[in-house]
Symmetry: C2
Subunit: 330 residues, 2 copies
């Protein structure tokens, strides 16, 4: 198991593969090549001074006669917690706000319309400790808490809710599938059935648990549902003052493991951007042409060929306590 020092898959491949092989490897791994976005040089300067990565890509769609291209720029932010977890709560929150503000300003320079941060971005990922104080003090009102007020200045952020609601915004229909929700293909499906064109998946997950699942799940959801998906993970290792166990029989520890970043965007045609770094803060800007959703739906027709009536019936049966699975015996 590599530590966080192994920077990224893409960096490794680019360093070692001859250009023609690199092209084939990328094609097999990532599908149709995404065009590099021509972002302002000032944005790169500020990102570099601020010590975070900046990458930008565009997904293209065919021109249509009756619809204009529906271009939206999304920004995915991954970041470490700037202060240690035993610093005063208010200082941690304030440092996070300042960090996010710096990144959001670069996102604005890059023309980002919708920005999405990592899961539980206003605090260390303290759920793993199963402790209450001081972590509950990070809770805020979603209506008028300091983070909501902070976000109202510069940015756009919306949280999930019960069921699978989709939010109609001026930049397209979006949905938020939070963290663990990505493991259930039916969550993505229901967002898609409700019309989502972009589904964000803010996550917090560590290498030993899920790194080989990470490139698969959100990308499969984009393919299966003819929509864009944005998978965002934390970076860094968060040290907690009290030791805690992880229910895996191993010794108590002060950190949950390293969050491996690798945030990416996947498109309905199966293509995807490279991932951000495994260890550095970063902003990934992706320009989406939402027309690609309908175009891929026209190619594959999954919504037409999905036997949803049958699934609904089968699932309704399957959840009954007396359900007998359909098993044919020899």
């Amino acid at each position: 198991m590599a530590g966080a020092e192994w920077e990224s898959l893409e960096q490794c491949l680019e360093k070692h593969l001859p250009s023609q092989d690199l092209r084939e490897v990328k094609r097999v791994l990532y599908g149709k090549e995404t065009r590099k976005l021509d972002l302002p040089s000032k944005a790169f300067e500020v990102a570099s001074e601020g010590n975070f990565e900046l990458q930008g890509y565009a997904f293209e769609a065919a021109n249509e006669q009756l619809r204009r291209p529906q271009i939206v720029r999304v920004g995915l932010v991954q970041n470490r917690t700037p202060l240690p977890a035993d610093a005063p709560v208010a200082e941690q929150v304030s440092a996070l706000h300042r960090r996010i503000e710096a990144i959001a300003e670069v996102a604005a320079m890059c023309g980002v319309n919708i920005i999405c941060f990592q899961e539980a971005w206003t605090m260390p990922f303290a759920f793993c400790t199963r402790e209450k104080l001081p972590w509950t003090e990070f809770a805020e009102s979603a209506e008028d808490g300091p983070t909501t007020r902070f976000c109202q200045k510069s940015t756009y952020y919306m949280e999930g809710n019960l069921g699978h609601p989709v939010f109609q915004t001026q930049f397209g229909r979006i949905a938020v599938n939070i963290c663990y929700g990505r493991h259930h293909p039916l969550n993505w499906l229901m967002y898609s059935i409700n019309g989502a064109e972009i589904v964000f998946n803010p996550s917090a997950t560590i290498g030993i648990l899920s790194e080989s699942l990470w490139p698969i799940e959100a990308r499969n959801a984009a393919i299966a549902n003819h929509c864009f998906t944005c998978a965002i993970n934390r970076v860094g290792q968060e040290h907690f003052p009290n030791e805690f166990t992880s229910g895996d029989g191993k010794k108590a520890h002060h950190d949950f493991g390293y969050f491996y970043g690798s945030s990416y965007v996947a498109a309905p045609d199966g293509s995807r951007t490279p991932g951000l770094s495994r260890s550095q803060d970063g902003l990934l800007v992706a320009e989406l042409n939402l027309n690609l959703c309908q175009q891929m739906s026209d190619v594959w027709n999954f919504k037409m060929t999905g036997r949803y009536e049958m699934y609904a019936r089968e699932l309704a049966e399957a959840v009954k306590p007396n359900y007998v699975p359909t098993i044919v015996k020899e």
Copy 2:
């Protein structure tokens, strides 16, 4: 778009990457390393003489106190059509039988318990031509046709049916999700809910259409459903006597494109075997410990956390003609 001459992702990575980077790349791409199976040297000799690839891997699970390991060996076969598509039908079928016989004998040497061939393995993939004769002449009785009689000598093969039946065999509970069925996450789910431990996906698909989707879909299904999945694709290019179009606005052609092979097995822990070649006939032997299904289910609990009742209700609503999607407007 590379032709079939680019042999495989794994071969390319192994050729160019230093060993430590190779290990990290494989970990990120394929998850926990699969152990190489120690197959009989005689099997490799016969495969080499017969001009097909042979690879073998084992997926391991933790030892349990109350259950023995449930070890099953599956064989995935990918092959070209040995004769041109305008040869007499009976000769084509007979050549395919001989080819499969040679590969199945090596599978038997390797202790394979369940073998699965590619989709429509007894004929060229003539569906793309949308012609009737002579292709309908390849149809046989599934009860007592020559292929069924041939298979009864040496091998095991079972086809899908309506619904999502699972077959209880002495080697575990298996299901068959044919070709396009892999695009629907709910097909895999329903097989899994009916108890499948191994789901085979015999396919026939070409590079330009689906190569970047191929490593994602069956593997996501293994992860999401705590089961093994076996993705099998044809290899080679099949030339048809009459030209036909593909409904994509392009000129008529005599072949559908090249089938890119790359058959693989994915495990419930997110790991997978390397793929077979993109262009050569091949046999992939994978040793599965079916206990891994329950073990991964205990780790992730997707069956417990899946809100199937809610999905069943939402889907039942969604298929109604007057369904109003849950869209929150600004």
